[in-house]
């Protein structure tokens, strides 16, 4: 009995395994080959057919036939517009007014939703990932490039042609081309050109008082700060923290293609974009870091700066005499306006890096845009809504200023005067709806426009007149994602102390930094970046 059972079991096991086994080892490619051989003769005829089909399909993109298509507005659609920041107090009121008009024209309503200022980057990605929004604010500093190339937004070329050819004409091909990622257009830029170059904001009254040079070069900055320190030893000079990019000041020295630092310590000059040099492994870098250490030792900033959180209004509160990272003309003008109220005897001046190194350009058009998310309920009507909000004067003013008479009024010079803080200027944070044709000018915008005019003149003399060539470049790091993360980590840990000058021996620290970079795989990153950058330059003709 025992033996019988055993043999029965074994037999069952073997047959069962045979039934399933054997298939695991054979490659699928063989089956494909076999099938293809037998079908090869039948396929030739098919090949011709498919070729003809594909030829018929390719039409030149970008050419509209000039006529906007009539949209089917029989069903009402409720769209969600996702903006950054906070909702204004009178959100409901103004939204209602906007929807009145939109319902009439398109049978559509919009609901503005906001990320609030807490964890906004996380929420922004979250909403795009989980769906539920139709129109989205985009900006190149809000990961537009990465999100677009990953498919978060719908491609807009065809939609523009069919639904809003007028808008295409108004914005112009140049602006639209700057918003392309991998050749496809994913966002509609606003209709306003602005200069967001970086530069230095400093106390002019102190400079005059002690007859110091204007800090428009690295040496002059040192002279300026030393001068103030000698004369007012109690005055704190710079409020520095680990969050800032101290290396920006070297834009005075190098005419780089971008102010915020070229990735992976490479060096690319604006005039010669295809020549990709090295910065971090060069002697220039060691010298620059020694300068930083010298400044730190001279007491220009606190030794514990790395763990400091930046003081938001250090200069305005007398805790600093200079800002040199992240200040653009608009912010500078804002500070000036504020100081007029609080410290009228202080004067501040702004020097853009471009005034010294000759590289200046307006912001890339990707800075403020509106995109349509891939989960949009009705892309055609969404596109039309963008057109209306941007180009229809009444709607544009509603979105930007609120209800005239209640939230704002225009005085005798046509200057915007705010009437109620329930809806401040740009209340819905719709910087993507700036339209220079319907601009509600404010008191400070006159000064700002002056500065822009100055820069435009300067910019016209650069090699690629008034074009931000780096701003339109999106890097796809997926092939070397691990190395990318590792390199970021190394920078956090070893570069920042160098830049803030808290290391004891600069040469040793630089050597260690370079060592760690190599370990993290910076070569892979550089190779990948260089390849993509050169291809990009080739595509756009930046030689």
């Amino acid at each position: 009995m025992k033996k019988k059972l055993l043999s029965l079991l074994l037999a069952t096991a073997m047959t069962a395994s045979l039934a399933g086994c054997g298939g695991g080892g054979k490659s699928a490619a063989d089956a494909m080959d076999e099938a293809q051989e037998s079908a090869a003769s039948g396929q030739e005829g098919q090949a011709d057919q498919t070729q003809q089909e594909s030829q018929a399909k390719t039409e030149p993109a970008g050419e509209g036939n000039g006529e906007a298509k009539e949209l089917d507005t029989s069903e009402r659609v409720d769209l969600v517009v996702y903006q950054l920041g906070d909702a204004p107090a009178d959100e409901a009121k103004v939204e209602e007014k906007i929807n009145e008009i939109l319902l009439e024209k398109l049978n559509v309503t919009v609901d503005f939703q906001f990320t609030t200022w807490v964890d906004w980057q996380q929420k922004y990605s979250l909403q795009l990932t989980t769906g539920g929004v139709d129109l989205v604010y985009t900006a190149n500093w809000s990961e537009y490039g990465k999100l677009a190339s990953s498919g978060a937004f719908l491609p807009l070329d065809d939609l523009l042609n069919t639904v809003s050819p007028e808008m295409r004409k108004t914005l112009g091909e140049d602006a639209l081309n700057q918003c392309r990622v991998n050749g496809e257009l994913y966002t509609i830029p606003c209709n306003y050109l602005e200069y967001t170059c970086n530069g230095i904001l400093y106390r002019e009254d102190l400079r005059e008082k002690y007859d110091l040079p204007a800090p428009n070069t690295v040496e002059n900055i040192e002279a300026y700060l030393t001068g103030i320190k000698e004369n007012e030893p109690e005055q704190q000079l710079l409020d520095v923290s680990g969050q800032e990019n101290m290396g920006q000041v070297f834009n005075f020295k190098y005419p780089w293609v971008t102010f915020t630092g070229i990735p992976y310590g490479l060096s690319i000059n604006y005039d010669t974009p295809t020549e990709v040099e090295d910065y971090w492994f060069s002697d220039d870098f060691t010298d620059d870091m020694k300068t930083m250490k010298k400044w730190a030792d001279m007491g220009f900033w606190s030794r514990s700066a790395l763990s400091n959180t930046p003081q938001e209004e250090a200069l305005e509160n007398g805790l600093a005499v200079m800002y040199f990272s992240g200040y653009n003309p608009a912010k500078a003008v804002g500070v000036k306006a504020k100081l007029e109220e609080t410290h009228p005897d202080w004067k501040v001046e702004y020097i853009a890096f471009g005034e010294t190194n000759g590289v200046i350009f307006p912001a890339n058009r990707q800075t403020n845009g509106t995109a349509i998310s891939k989960d949009c309920k009705d892309p055609e009507r969404a596109m039309k809504v963008i057109e209306l909000l941007l180009m229809d004067e009444e709607l544009n003013h509603l979105a930007m200023g609120g209800i005239e008479g209640e939230h704002y009024e225009l005085d005798e010079n046509g200057i915007y005067q705010n009437l109620s803080d329930k809806f401040p200027y740009g209340g819905f944070n719709t910087w993507n709806l700036y339209n220079k044709d319907y601009w509600l000018s404010t008191e400070t915008s006159a000064e700002l426009n002056e500065m822009f005019a100055k820069y435009e003149e300067l910019g016209a003399k650069t090699k690629f007149p008034n074009t931000d060539i780096f701003g339109g470049f999106t890097e796809d790091t997926s092939a070397y994602a691990t190395e990318y993360s590792a390199v970021q980590n190394v920078c956090d840990q070893y570069l920042k102390p160098l830049q803030i000058g808290t290391v004891d021996d600069v040469d040793a620290a630089v050597a260690q930094f370079r060592e760690k970079l190599k370990e993290a795989g910076i070569e892979a990153c550089r190779e990948g970046f260089k390849e993509q950058w050169l291809a990009y330059c080739e595509q756009y003709g930046y030689k």
Partner: protein
Amino acid sequence: MEERLERKIWGRKTGVVMTAAVSAIAFILSLPFVSWVKVVNISSLFPKIGISREAAADLYQGYSIFNLLDFVQKGGQGKIGLYAMILLMLLIAAWYFNLAYLWKAVRNKKRKDGDLGLYAAGRLAMLSVLLLAGASVGFVAFSNSRFGMKGFSASPVIYLLSVLCIMAYAVIKRMEKKERELYHEHGLLKEIRKNWVLFLMLVPTFVYFMINSYLPMVGIYYAFTNFNFRDGLWASPFVGMKNFEFLLKGDLFRLTRNTVLYNVAFILLGNVLQIIFAILVSQVSKKWFQKTSQTLMFMPYFVSFVLLKVLVYNLFEYDYGLVNNIVTSLGGDKIDFYNTPAYWPFLIVLFNLWKGIGYGMVVYLASIMGIDGELYEAAKVDGANVFHQIRYITLPLLKPTFIILLLYSLGGIMKGQFELFYQMVGNNGVLYNVTDIIDTYVYRITMTQPLSIGLGTAAGLYQSVFGFVIVVVTNWLIKRKNPQYALF
């Protein structure tokens, strides 16, 4: 029939032997060299789902559940990835139950409830295989609908196993029924009928955990994918263990060491301090002092880490900080706290203790309150002084609470107090070697990449598995010594 089943061969019941054999068969048949899913119509399938001739060279014509994910990865078929992973999980569960049953059948240890434990294990084993088989068939149907044509087919092994398992299940059920009558035990349905109130009480809890924890657990799948918007959350390409690479690149050993050491310090020192202070508070004679001091000690809980960071910076800053002011006025040199890693382990532990002491103390206070006052009276009569009372009454009675809290914290030993580290250290790279924990490292990396769902989930999974293993082992050890202290 039943007598035949009950007859013993090899010292065990026949029924058990037969069903154990089925278990063994199920185990063997699910091994990698047996294919459960066959790929058919390859020549028309592959072009349709986008697999080229070169890619096909890496693929097979038949897959076991083990290397199904391989097909998903190499063939770029992210949309069936989640289901394939679920199958793998079911397979591992089925293996566990079947091996457990085999083990029990082989050991043949008599327990106080007879063979009931064995039968329960047997039923679980058979059910798990049935579930696996059913899910596999479902997978084939699901994939075919995704492909838009018949691309997979279930191999006959699945059907064979199903039949065998159903038969084995019936056999076990029969035997179990008899055994149950012997021992006055009940099955699940009878249990529910008997204690239906208790089950009813658990319903809201069940709903809560399903919604809040168990259903979202599917998201663990993201740890193995490379998310992109086009494919969306459920169909992104499967990349296996690639997301875990970035953890390794970040010097995983150092991160793990930091995380574990800090947690050990927090847990041990924290609990000890809390116990000490709880005892002190409970013994102090003036009631108003008790209440006030306890309230005051609770205050740090309300100081958020954001605020704490600001205060601490003011204390330890190099030029103007309070501590350095005191040091220099006493004639010493200024201490550069923010650039010297050596101080920080102590400082961080200190801050954590400070913040948590009032909060944790409450638990121990409540426990002490529950101790019978008469015990102390009796002790006093016997001549024990305060210290003796604490040592022989209070501490032993606090032990269960302490152990449970300890065990509970062990599960989180790889997870850190992110806020604490992030705020205290900030972006100060100099201190990273000693203060970087897994959470802060992952945060820094994922902040720079908006598509990094996979990276974050992978790190979380690593922490979870580590903690899980530690807790299960420790709980099992404790259970053998003192079952009432165990967590589960």
